[in-house]
Amino acid sequence: MNKPLTLALPKGRLLAPALKMLRSMGLDGVEADSRKLIFSDERRGLRFLILKPADVPTYVAYGAADLGIVGKDILLEQEPDVYEPLDLAFGFCRLVVAEPMALWERDDPSKWSWVRVATKYPNLTERYFSERGIQVEMVRLDGSIELAPLVGLADRIVDLVQSGETLRANGLVEVAEITRSTARLIVNRASLKTEYSPVSRLIDQMKKQVTRP
């Protein structure tokens, strides 16, 4: 009997579509509402971990999980040393620079030379601005980024938007798009080689589930 493969799943917005995909592949065993963090589908030799999205690449890079599902935004931010064989096409969103309406009305982004930005994507933010010759002072936050400009913590934010509803509700306007993101399947480098057949089989099954938008 082979050792079970471990698949890391992200809590939050990607969990429901990920589970939907797994169910349509005939995999089961994860109760989304449970407080448990580890589940197994013993019949298929699979184990599931439910993790904070930003932790998924770490588990996979270290081999604590063989595979993982995580947003491209997090992969671009962390640049983990893993394989990334499949765009799962769900969980589409965009990483944008946004600022309060009042600032936007008199702002000219082409004149920026120094900005203060609140974000949980410091690496992507740094890269984006420095490529444009703009100095950036980073205010690193872990959530509710939209709040920062309202209380004067930073003038601008870099954050993920899906519908743009949260930005609008907080009086913010999108100024620039940094990148687009969808959910990706990532695979530990060693697992792809040492567990070659079960891992490739799982990737192939997922490939069949992916419908291009």
């Binding site: 996979v60 890079a61 081999g63 040393d81 499949l86 695979v187 060693a190 080689k193 040492t194 070659y196």
Partner: protein, 440 residues
């Protein structure tokens, strides 16, 4: 914030090996070195630091950025701690050994230093055991590296391993065929190194190469597996350089089959991670349970020319720290042994203890003395903790003045021996003197 006194702090990236850990590390190193010796390799010792610009000649940019640098007080020139042994050996061969008959088979066992973020089992100072095979361009030399790596994995007691074998010239041929800018090549390489099919598709759309090349590029992330990969690659590839690379890889694979290693090898034509460094066949060794490669190497035919001597070469190294982690993950234990004897002497003169220690050590046994004055039970508990095999108790309550008590610590079995008899012929009482001096 850390409030511990500064005397206890260590900088990031270094590691202490306490006695048990050091014994396990030494055992790994000795076993690997014994493999190298059995294949005819001889150890060389390279300097810990050299001039940075000289080392840089044989080091790619990423690794150059990771070098620890310091200033030479004599000349004001920049020095660097070795981040890789291969360029050092390349320089040694190009300058000091170029007139030696070839091939040269050289081995090393040493620490290297790289500024880098923590990785699986990897510190900024870490240990490598490896070899370089200089002066051979033939596929048999490449096969020798892979076969030795497998033997290294086996001698460490590891199972469920795979060697991922690629050929750097295969992708180089494709890049030549595409005739694209360096930056575009970088992007392709980057996407391929992650087997990122969606980014690759996007890049191929932008580049719009001939249909057959596009088909090959898009197939690359999946071109890994057993022997059938060679056929699949041959069907798709159209340029002579990649075709030669494929034929070379096929020959190395044929030799590995002859070694009986076909099952240990996965061929990966889409592997481009060592592309900047290697010129031909290269490989990485993975074991189940460790998320990172624990050995790797390959052909670097251009390196020696950078030091003024054009000569083909190949090599590989094990990461000793990762080997230890892999063994732990697979439940392979390193037997830890203490001294053979622990001598406890309650007499004030200690004459028997000292003469017996000397006699037993001369026969090659490991002997430690208690020296501390304490209860017998405490001394025996200490000896057990030190993994001692036998305690010899002199002048204790259970024996006469000319006798001693021998306790086998694992079983608790006791026997009384005349001290003079033991001194005269220790081997009649204990199985010692057969392993030779130096082995405790």
């Amino acid at each position: 914030m850390d409030k511990r006194p500064f005397q206890t702090q260590l900088p990031k990236g270094v590691k202490i090996y306490l006695p048990d850990e050091a014994a396990a590390k030494r055992s790994v190193e000795e076993r690997l070195l014994s493999v190298f010796t059995r294949w005819g390799y001889r150890e060389v010792v390279t300097p810990t630091y050299e001039y940075a610009d000289v080392l840089s000649l044989g080091t790619d940019e990423t690794l150059q950025e990771q070098m620890f640098r310091l200033v030479d007080r004599d000349t004001g020139r920049l020095l660097a701690l070795r981040a890789d042994i291969t360029p050092q050996i390349a320089r040694i061969v190009a300058t000091r050994l170029r007139d030696e008959p070839k091939p040269l088979r050289l081995a090393y066992l040493t620490n290297v230093f790289r500024y880098g973020e923590p990785q699986v089992g990897r510190y900024r100072e870490f240990y490598q055991a490896g070899v370089e095979l200089v002066g051979l361009e033939k596929p048999e030399a490449d096969a020798e590296m892979i076969a030795m790596s497998v033997e290294g994995l086996r001698v460490l007691g590891l199972g469920r391993f795979q060697l991922n074998v690629g050929q750097a010239d295969f992708f180089r041929g494709i890049l030549e065929e595409l005739k694209i800018e360096r930056e575009q090549g970088r992007q392709l390489q980057d996407a391929l190194s992650r087997k990122d099919a969606s980014t690759l598709e996007q890049l191929v759309r932008e580049l719009a190469p001939p249909a057959s090349t596009a088909e090959l590029l898009l197939a690359l992330p999946d071109l890994f597996g057993r022997e059938e990969v060679l056929e699949q690659g041959a069907r798709l590839v159209k340029n002579p350089r990649s075709e030669r690379a494929l034929a070379n890889l096929a020959e190395v694979h044929r030799l590995l089959r002859a070694y009986g290693l076909a099952d240990a090898v996965i061929l990966d034509l889409g592997e481009v991670r060592g592309f900047d460094y290697y010129s031909g066949v290269y490989f990485e060794g993975y074991v189940s349970g460790l998320g990172a490669p624990l050995c790797g190497g390959g052909r670097y035919d251009h390196m020696l020319a950078r030091f003024g001597y054009d000569c083909p070469a190949t090599g590989f190294a094990f990461d000793v720290g990762r080997a230890l982690l892999a063994m732990e993950a697979q439940g392979v234990s390193v037997p830890l042994v203490g001294p053979d004897f622990f001598i406890i002497d309650f007499t004030p003169e200690k004459i028997v203890a000292l003469s017996l220690s000397r006699r037993l050590r001369d026969l090659g046994a490991g002997v430690a003395r208690d020296i501390i004055t304490r209860e017998l039970s405490e001394s025996l508990a200490y000896a057990r903790g030190q993994r001692v095999r036998w305690a010899l108790v002199i002048g204790g309550p259970k024996t006469a003045a000319d006798e001693l008590l021998a306790v086998e610590l694992a079983t608790g079995a006791e026997r009384t021996i005349k001290s003079a008899d033991l001194l005269k012929a220790p081997a009649t009482w204990f199985p010692i003197g057969t392993r030779g001096p130096g082995h405790a």
